[in-house]
Symmetry: D2
């Protein structure tokens, strides 16, 4: 049975001086021949199911044949996961500033070109090791004493990213509001999407928006492109550039289900088996039709009016153009106006998630859908 | 086809001067021989399904054989139903003061005894009419210009209560957080609980706590008791004391479902048919086993620890003493403590509802359950 | 120099498992002849100045001549003091339930009469010691394992109240929203109000509403009254019934000022000197005109309209009937209505505090004022 | 006496169907020879003082000698100004999404180059008129029916920006949290900063971040630069490129003071007189030392720890390197650590504003200060 170690990382302090900490679990493989892995959960406060998945991974990994090191971090953002607003958890942003907790990771594009020039003739192992060290050192400098300070969210994000940069594979476990399972996957790693038991994949480009997945693959993708321009070709996802980062959306927020978590853990182990991180034939992806679309085609529909929404469209099932996604109830219009209003779009879509509440303002995001989708 | 009228009642003003209004729908019966009815929904912001039920009642009542007047008020509390906090609606209390919106209705116990003394020998119709007028006038005085003013919630509550006091039957449509359907019913009206398609009923005493149902039956019940002490006997629920008030809990908050709303509307029509308010044989209660308990036996279980909850117990299904209601995940204890903790109680219960989120503090209400329950 | 001890009391757990703790500082007097004292601060999240006062008390008490034991508890409610909502601290209530944090203390009125009967002929020292023990034991039983649990706020309140019940004098340090200094004082302890450097005192009756001050003097006052009915007379504030509890309102919330805190600490020391708890002549109350009113005459004015408020009335200065307290700006009415609206009352008042924000709904509490005030 | 017209613009709908509207006041000059002006207030919910300034401007402008048209919009964002969270107004961001309300204006950089090419030889008046029309049309298209919809904040922002684009001078009235007065001014308009009675000016570059001021000057500045690259030179601030946009920070949020508002209105009239929009010699800027710094030198200091802050540094007064800005109280450390911690920086600064609350998390923004400042 594999042993893990547990450390406690301090990520913040509240007004009373209360220290907020994050547990960090690590498995070290004896024959560390394979890629190393970093998995975190609960960066957004309400997105708690990933903690249960990490629970099940810890249970299962103790019985796996490990070939690579694995680090697991539940409760990644205790500021957010402890922040109640009424009965619910204020999920997505710092309650003081409004900044989305998953938009505060770091990537310094300006360091790519000089690095590529300096390492143009270096061997592949040196490139890999030095660039990794470079990424970690940059964060260490930002975290170290700095007279102007950094924000609450940066402090949390940078400490997590330090751990993530030391791994080759990164899985950031999230959920949607009310949502089906889906996967954010870099375009170059599309083949890996077929190892997860997730029917819908969004393929993303090399465009840094501040999220953990981007923050861990964009530096390498940018470096590969910089080398390419200088005439040296590497393939993303291979050799020194064996980096894969995914945001795994596990379903709906505000819920813990340990049984579903066990299925999701198995799905992740199937992917890790495919990458050689564990050697356990019993973890295999399920047969299913997998759909994908490009990030530009993953579109939101904003409510054309205030009202109360009866969400109609089923997740994951193609919906023909013109079919209603939702109908909006407007009792104030009953008797002298239209009390029910259908919302539809004029192209075929696959609904993936919808807003967490029936009550919406004009302009609230109602649904997110796949357009121009295709089979993987 | 019955016609209804629609009025707009102003219930508040926001900082920008925006006026908040409530639509009031009224059916007048030509042969107004039966009891009159008041139905409202959405006093708590997140409890929106009642609006859909009122939509369906408006659709159905136009085709009923009406024998009593019916007033219907959706969006009863626009301050609350428009108040978003993160993605959710801040449901239960004034965001400025914390006071529960359904604890601000009015009942002046001290006026009961003098009224009973004054009307000891009056005829029943005069007692009914004058007491009704008395209740309405008291509210009018509070609402009229008053140099010290009244609170935001009182202004809303009193205006709704003015309408309710003019009816004989009051239905206040609510929902639980995540919840099965259940009914709050005054003990004397227990027989009426069997006309609703609701399996679980809480029987409540003559104890005013500020809610709409109590605010509309406690004055009458107190008056009946005062007369009784003075030697004149009336029966609650009969003749001049034909008053029934229910809080109807329609299921879970933050959801609108128009199809389920149609079923709930039919259930309400079955009750109204039983009371002679409509004369439509097609509305009959469904056969089902109905359970009840007294309010003192409707108990909350508070979380013994902070953590993330996997709610296990099914709503409405008796649970044996010692069986787990929920298990609480505590990842921070994984590896060096207990990561999973079962919550149970040492008596048989029927779970009715649970908290809206998986994330709880130590002391958050987890479940509400029936103890010492019995069949109706 | 007096030494103090420091303990850490655990008062709650958040969803991540984070433990919330409160520091408890204690001075033990060698010749413990005088009354013992309990002082706490920051039960409401935004009311932070009391922490600075406790800082200054800790600095000063080390150099005093102590005659009684003193316990000091800053950050009494870390759940509340860490709860940000936007830039501000959500002050007054549990963000999940809306219940005011200072309405959750315990007092079981039904235990008074049996105790008085049982101790009717007991000596005074036994009455004092056994009743104190009785009060503490009741809380211990509530806090000990209880299958149904207690709420988040009760757990905090009961642990603080356990400490307070062991003292003879209780000071609960609060602030208003935007406020002058004022004092809540039980009617029987009116003489003590003159030892604080606070110009305005509200005299309160023996009516338990859930607050810390009431929770620590009402049991003793009720007991004294029960004995009186049984024919045995004690004087509140003397001998075994030497109990004084005050809520000290230090000014405005959301502010820390260490210099002002030093003045407030001196004022508290002047009171403690007057009670013989310290023997330090240098701490004397300042000469000032002190006004008081009864709690029933401490009245709120609720806004007659939504709008934006220019608060005009100065705190602490008598305002003649009809003079404006505030004017409300309603730009939406400019040009076709009244853009400015004065708020006044028709009796003489002393304004004590006003709402924390210029933006109000119709029905928001604007000012609190003394009516029927008199000089102490 | 000049007459104004008043219109009501609908900017949003809430869940209850409540419509949110904004009053729009317009003065039309008979001899419309001068620049036209757009002034708005209260885009951030808690920043209410600008409404009082618009009140005073409406009072004063009726008696001015008008040479240009002036549009004034108070309560620009009723969603935000009506959103209470506890006692305060949730100021800066959409409570559902966290997006800063003043980061949702529109600027399409990609349209600049084609326009410049097309109008390379056009006359100046055509460039001005057609570009203005172009900017407005783009917004009209976004606001018109669009099957995917736009966000709540975009709908508000675009409607305001439509009005602003039609003017030559734009003043967006804001406040800081707790703050001195200061001015955001485009670098090319530096000379105009001396007409405001505001001691501190931040000079900003042509870098669009989503705010109203940038949204109205960046298109013109970008166009001027595009023409310059094509060989045709215009001067920003002159002729067709007479565009000035300022964010005027009026002091602290959550306050209305009509007397101070009158001073601020006079200051704005002094600026308008300097631009020829009114011809009233009595409005002249006050003599004062005015300081400025570039936006890159307007720096935030983030709290190095959680705690409660005694803000020490005075606004507007140069503070030597190493002098404390604030001291942070940490009562949990009293007796066995450092209870007071000074915060300072190692260069000379002018403090401009600080955080709204004493309670801060590690990483909360404490102060904003001018570095490398200079006299205007």
């Amino acid at each position: 049975m594999n042993k893990f170690t547990k450390e406690v990382m301090s990520v913040g302090e509240m007004a009373s001086g209360a220290k907020l900490t994050v547990p960090v679990y690590s498995f070290k493989s004896e024959n560390n021949s394979a890629a190393s892995v970093y998995i975190q959960a609960n960066m957004h406060g309400a997105e708690v199911q990933g903690n249960a998945v990490i629970f099940q991974l810890l249970e299962l990994l103790q019985h796996c044949d490990l070939r690579g090191n694995i680090t697991l971090v539940p409760y990644a953002n205790p500021v957010a996961c402890n922040h109640k607003n009424g009965e619910y958890t204020l999920g997505r942003f710092d309650p003081i500033t409004g900044v989305n907790w998953n938009r505060m990771y770091h990537f310094n594009q300006s360091m790519i070109q000089p690095f590529a020039e300096q390492y143009l003739d270096a061997n592949e192992a040196d490139i890999r090791d030095d660039f990794k060290r470079f990424l970690v050192t940059e964060l260490d400098q930002k975290l170290a004493h700095n007279i102007w300070g950094i924000t609450t969210g940066q402090r949390i994000a940078y400490q997590l990213q330090r751990l993530a940069h030391q791994a080759d594979i990164v899985l950031d476990l999230h959920t949607g509001p009310i949502s089906s399972k889906h996967l954010y996957c870099p375009e170059y790693a599309q083949a890996s999407a077929e190892y997860f038991d997730i029917e819908h994949t969004i393929l993303i480009d090399n465009d840094f928006g501040g999220a953990m997945d981007e923050a861990t693959f964009c530096p390498w993708w940018s470096l590969q492109q910089a080398f390419e321009k200088l005439g040296r070709n590497f393939t993303m996802g291979k050799g020194a550039f064996k980096r894969e980062s995914f945001t795994v959306e596990l379903g709906s927020q505000e819920q813990i289900d340990l049984d579903v978590a066990k299925e999701d853990a198995s799905s992740i182990l199937a992917y890790l088996h495919s990458q050689g991180v564990i050697d356990n034939q019993q973890y295999q992806p399920k047969a299913m039709t997998r759909y994908a679309c490009y990030l530009k085609d993953y579109k939101a529909i904003y409510s054309p009016m205030g009202g109360m929404v009866d969400y109609l469209a089923e997740f994951g099932k193609p919906l023909a153009a013109g079919e209603p996604l939702a109908r909006i109830l407007r009792m104030d219009n009953y008797g002298d106006g239209e009390a029910l209003h259908n919302v539809s779009v004029d192209e075929d879509v696959i609904p993936i998630l919808h807003f967490a509440s029936a009550s919406v303002n004009q302009g609230t995001e109602l649904y997110k859908v796949f357009c121009n989708y295709f089979k993987l």
